[in-house]
Amino acid sequence: MTVQVILKGFGEVVKEVTFRVRRYDPEKDNTPKYSEYKVPVKKGMTVLDGILYIKEHIDPSLSARYSCRMGICGSCAMIINGKERLACQTQILELNKDLIKVDPLGNYNLIKDLVPDLSKLFNNHKSVKPYIIRNDNPPTAEYLQKPEEREKYAMFTECILCGACLSACPTMAADDLYLGPQALAQAYRYIADSRDMGFEERLNVLDSKHGVWRCHFAGACSEVCPKGVDPALAIQLLRGVLMKNSFFGYKQVPAPVGKERPTVVEGLKVLEEKIKESEKK
């Protein structure tokens, strides 16, 4: 027996809105232009659904980047009615407008239509070494961390690398080499992590002419973050760490390793053997 759930009003066309989408094909166009499309809106329909409707029913040449459709992958960040948002999380009816203007993220090169080239975001992210750095031997168990130690950086782990913050950042618009709020927030996330020992390795990048000190604290990054991360706060906290370091030194105390786990030890042995085998080959 199948149970059918009927949601009142779900599936009915509520109204028609106009999508004004910025189009740009580097192979054909010299400059970007706007195209308008009429989209019938049903309850629960997101801006991404609207874009996919256009792609399926009106203009298949429209390009947009998307994947999970539930605000996790961060692929569909774009500027919707003047603000950076995830298209899959933005309900058309909640915008309460008859005209929806869709632009690709700013401060990036454009690949096509609504698809920005996020290389700058990923390169900057990579430059701050966004992983736990340890100088001691490979661990045979987890590094121990208290819940209150995790709280220090917990918020910054929510970043999904959608790139909305870089698009909103006014410094990013002026300074090509600026690290940007995403990379700086992630640098703080790892420096504040009690398991990390990589402060010195990140110092040259962070304490540079285009590093943490170039933030003007406009706060636009925190305003637009779809996951509620506050990169502007991370930047202020990072400045505090760097200032402390430049006068008194900043020392990280490594978190202890927990009780040895046989499975981890065996796993490490297997890994070492595989590395040796691959080196022989």
Partner: protein, 130 residues
């Protein structure tokens, strides 16, 4: 020098500008180095000291001849010059990024800042020596 130390100096000079700027404002607006500081106030029975009133030009020049005040003005000039030209360096290096541009901006700001500082010092010295 690391950017954090330069920025520390930038914040410190920002605060010192408030202090020395306040003293400068005081000197030009309220303090009277001359003993002859009585003013007759129109339609008033008594004379008043010149608190809150404007100074005669000669009184202002007298301030510059005082060694302590000259030192304050020299310090004020130092912090303002550093703060302003480091500020210009930051603004320009945001607009023109790249290692060559960075060097050109840093050295040109240093040279122009030094010229302004020397010229300001000359003015303070000339006023001090009368």
């Amino acid at each position: 020098m690391r950017e954090s130390k330069i920025m520390f100096l930038q914040y410190l000079t920002g605060l010192l500008i408030l202090v020395f700027g306040g003293l400068h404002f005081l000197a030009l607006s309220f303090l009277t180095p001359s003993p002859d500081k009585q003013l007759y106030v129109y339609q008033s029975a008594t004379n008043h000291t010149l608190v809150g009133g404007a100074l005669y030009y000669n009184y202002v020049l007298d301030i510059y001849k005082n060694l302590a005040w000259a030192a304050v003005f020299e310090l004020f000039l130092t912090v303002v010059t550093f703060h302003a030209f480091n500020g210009f360096r930051i603004i320009l290096s945001e607009q023109f990024s790249g290692p060559t541009a960075s060097k050109v901006i840093s050295y040109s700001m240093l040279i122009i800042g030094l010229i302004v500082f020397i010229w300001g010092t000359r003015t303070i010295l000339l006023a001090f020596l009368g």
